[in-house]
Symmetry: C2
Subunit: 209 residues, 2 copies
């Protein structure tokens, strides 16, 4: 029973998506060409019509990941709110993205990716640095607006921002979805916020107990 033919663009997309989903369920170790092919509905060797190797497929996964992250940022950028509110939205969107896409941390933290080939490590680093740069830009904007303290280094704050997400997603993974990453984010956000926001006299009273 032969699968119906598709253009190589369609197949590349299907294969990358299938690989991405597989990584989320069976992990990087369980990611085999056979499994990908089965999910797509073709035969293992058929993948080589559209990718030259398994490494190429993994690269495609990274591209997907990048699109997801930058899509988030661009959606947020359109909001007409203060920088702090923008960051808050981004935090929630990021956690949602990770929850729906269990593969993200698996890919980011897998040795296959960043111990595999040097260019892969560089690529992943580029993705993360770009994301950090966009967060840092939001922070900088907040400083211009006057909502974020000017003494802070935007890049450092951006790295801290990522720290709001990562431990939660790890715990969420380890607990098989039991741990409530969203709740942690909601709890952590005001605390983080109180550290970076410019304090007005009225707000100062709220922070103190």
């Amino acid at each position: 029973m032969a699968a119906e033919k598709q253009t190589t663009e369609v197949r590349q997309d299907e294969i990358a998506r299938a690989a991405l989903e597989l990584v989320g369920t069976v992990g990087m170790k369980g990611l085999s060409m056979a499994a990908i092919a089965r999910k797509v509905g073709i035969v293992p060797s058929g993948i080589y019509r559209h990718f030259s190797s398994k490494d190429d497929v993994i690269d495609a996964i990274l591209d997907y990941l990048q699109r997801g992250l930058s899509g988030n940022v661009r959606a947020i950028a359109l909001l007409e709110v203060t920088a702090l509110e923008r960051l808050h939205s981004l935090l929630m969107k990021h956690i949602d993205l990770v929850r729906q896409n269990k593969s993200i941390p698996v890919v980011v933290f897998s040795t296959e990716v960043y111990n595999g080939s040097p260019h892969r490590r560089v690529k992943l680093r580029g993705i993360i640095e770009a994301y950090l740069a966009e967060i840092a830009a939001m922070v900088g904007q907040g400083q211009l607006e006057g909502s974020i303290r000017e003494a802070l280094d935007p890049k450092a704050v951006a790295v801290m921002f990522m720290g709001l997400v990562q431990p939660s997603t790890i715990l969420w993974h380890l607990s098989a979805g039991e741990y409530d990453a969203m709740k942690q984010a909601e709890t952590a956000w005001p605390i983080f916020c109180s550290a970076i926001e410019r304090r007005t006299p009225s707000e100062r009273k709220v922070i103190m107990e």
Copy 2:
């Protein structure tokens, strides 16, 4: 050339340590029984005199990891300083541990570990939860001392604390040691600190610009 005989306790220790170091250099994917054996100085099949399977070796790696983390905490617990200073020390020690032991994030984030067998995932979760609990205890102590705001949930603060370390270590890994995780920690700490410490009138002035 036969290796000189060792007691099984010594060999188990050597094998676990060799595996731990290997994970740091070649990653979880490159961790083979052959590579471990070579590093120890015996033959692959010899490992099976001391471990029943590769999974057993990986479990031993987790035990090593746990000892490293709890060793840190216990060393800190002896310090006769305020809770905030204790946390600061722990932060620095943790980053140092990760830097010297490149294997830690690799193990924590590898699918082989937490997608492998359910008991392994539970074990790893236990290690992390225990670490979090000890941090939370420090936070709680700080609240009793009056140096940390009482309104905060110690567990949530503990998770945030881990967030101070994780992104840094990832960036450090991806940049092949170029990124300065220590510097980020030193920058982030006072910001984090300003969010959790109980504010006295004099300190309040410092925080405002």
